[in-house]
Symmetry: C2
Amino acid sequence: MHDSEFSPALITQAVARLAGKIVTTPMLSSPMLDAALGCRVLLKAESLQRTGSFKFRGALNKLLALPEDVRALGVVAFSSGNHGHAVAAAAAQVGCAAVIVLPRSAPAIKIESCRWWGAETVLYDPETEDRQAIGQHLAESRGMTIVPPFDDHDVIAGQATCGVEFAAQCGAADITPDVIIAPCSGGGLSSGVFAAMHPRYPAIETVFAEPQGSEKMAATLAKGAPQSRPAGHVTILDGLSGPHAGLRPSRLLKACGARGLAVSDAQTLRAMALAFRTVKLVLEPAGAAALAAVLQHPAQFQGRTVAVVCSGANVDSRTFVQALQQDEHP
Amino acid sequence: MHDSEFSPALITQAVARLAGKIVTTPMLSSPMLDAALGCRVLLKAESLQRTGSFKFRGALNKLLALPEDVRALGVVAFSSGNHGHAVAAAAAQVGCAAVIVLPRSAPAIKIESCRWWGAETVLYDPETEDRQAIGQHLAESRGMTIVPPFDDHDVIAGQATCGVEFAAQCGAADITPDVIIAPCSGGGLSSGVFAAMHPRYPAIETVFAEPQGSEKMAATLAKGAPQSRPAGHVTILDGLSGPHAGLRPSRLLKACGARGLAVSDAQTLRAMALAFRTVKLVLEPAGAAALAAVLQHPAQFQGRTVAVVCSGANVDSRTFVQALQQDEHP
């Protein structure tokens, strides 16, 4: 496979392509947060990225990496979540067509978000139709390019720019993190961020956070082949509930010696409330998963300098209210 | 009065003093927010500043501007809100003592916040005691310096650094704002920010947002002398409910031709929910007041480029839930 090796040059190219087109999200900290967690925490507020999640970086990098004539034919994505929203917004930004393939059961607001950006939406019945086949047909019949959510080196390189910024922000503050934690579903974000930070901090420990009971990437690393989500697993971490872990991300995670930590729904809600109170961030459950890992496994982080990626903020108000209210009445 | 004139040099000094000691808060925007408001909005997310509000800038600048031997004796502030919290945190950062004078009726959490930073707290009965006298006594008996919340040129110059950053961020994005809006109580933030931005954008319109029914600064500008809050006025905008408008801020506001706009509690709650949904910011009511001004007076901003200061995020979860729930069920 010609793309079987990930090159650091892809990250350098992504940084150049995205310059001025994305938000340089701030690194935040709070002595009160540190006191609550028993360690020094640096938060990368990627929740403030365009479209409310890191997904915009990878989507835009992929679109900009396409040859102009290919891009002009448009792109396709399957996703009812942050990836679909990000591809729709990135396509609007570069001025190409986008088709987002969503399950008919997706919440109306998610379908509307994609349409808002001018994307065409194709709804399918997940019980009887195969989204891959629908996308493949669109790609072939209309010459559109599929933008994969994570198992693609340009997408990973786009997410890696979050790590490049984070490392630069640590450097500017003269802080060397002992460990970096990022949420993980398919693995595009965590593998990209770790690939960007590991060379700068060779001693850094790399940790990915997964929903307890659905630790696809940990299983993938253990078995050496991409694993799927256990059927019937229900979690508040909707952003980390994709069907399977990615092959290319798993290779990168393995290369930097990453390990997984499981987080519960309860600790995720606590982490959302803690971020609200201390660093004043809106986080969606998946966006709070890395912080939840610190809450849930305090002994592992005691006294250390912990870099935490807060990856997204697309949460409905009902879930956010739930997080705030359980915090009031623990 | 030797300090009757505000000099732009004070802002330059404040920028140098605060470099690396405060958060460079991001400028955020959202096409969805623009569409909802009918204008192009640039938000300065000062809610992400240390201690959750712009007050940290002014407090830290004031402390750093004191001669070292004076600073070593400590500082006093009267405030149950963001100013007290900011002075306590700034004193902890520079390593001097701080006494915060709070009404005995202040919420326990606000008293605890000041103590958390190591500040001494002095509680008084607002019915029978005069906080000014208590502070004056502390200042005289212990040689401490009073840090005024707004009517002080070093405090104003500290808040002005928010405007310096905002102008630089507009410049980097190659955007010229038509109008800048900031929330206003005593006037320290709005006067400082406008003083910083007006010279760079001489054609900019400067607008301050006040609670409807308690427009102290508008009245001050109209009457030519500091006016007080109407007795018995109740508003959700606790951060804009100080007893009176400031003299020095009013002079600066007058000099740049600023005008006031009133905002209601209802539009403030809508603005908080809108910021949550579109730019993913936690805003306290006062922090959302400038955005509420755009919501409440849409005709004035139609089609324009509007720079909006989102000044703080210290909101209890109950009030935040109220904002999110009224948004669901308008």
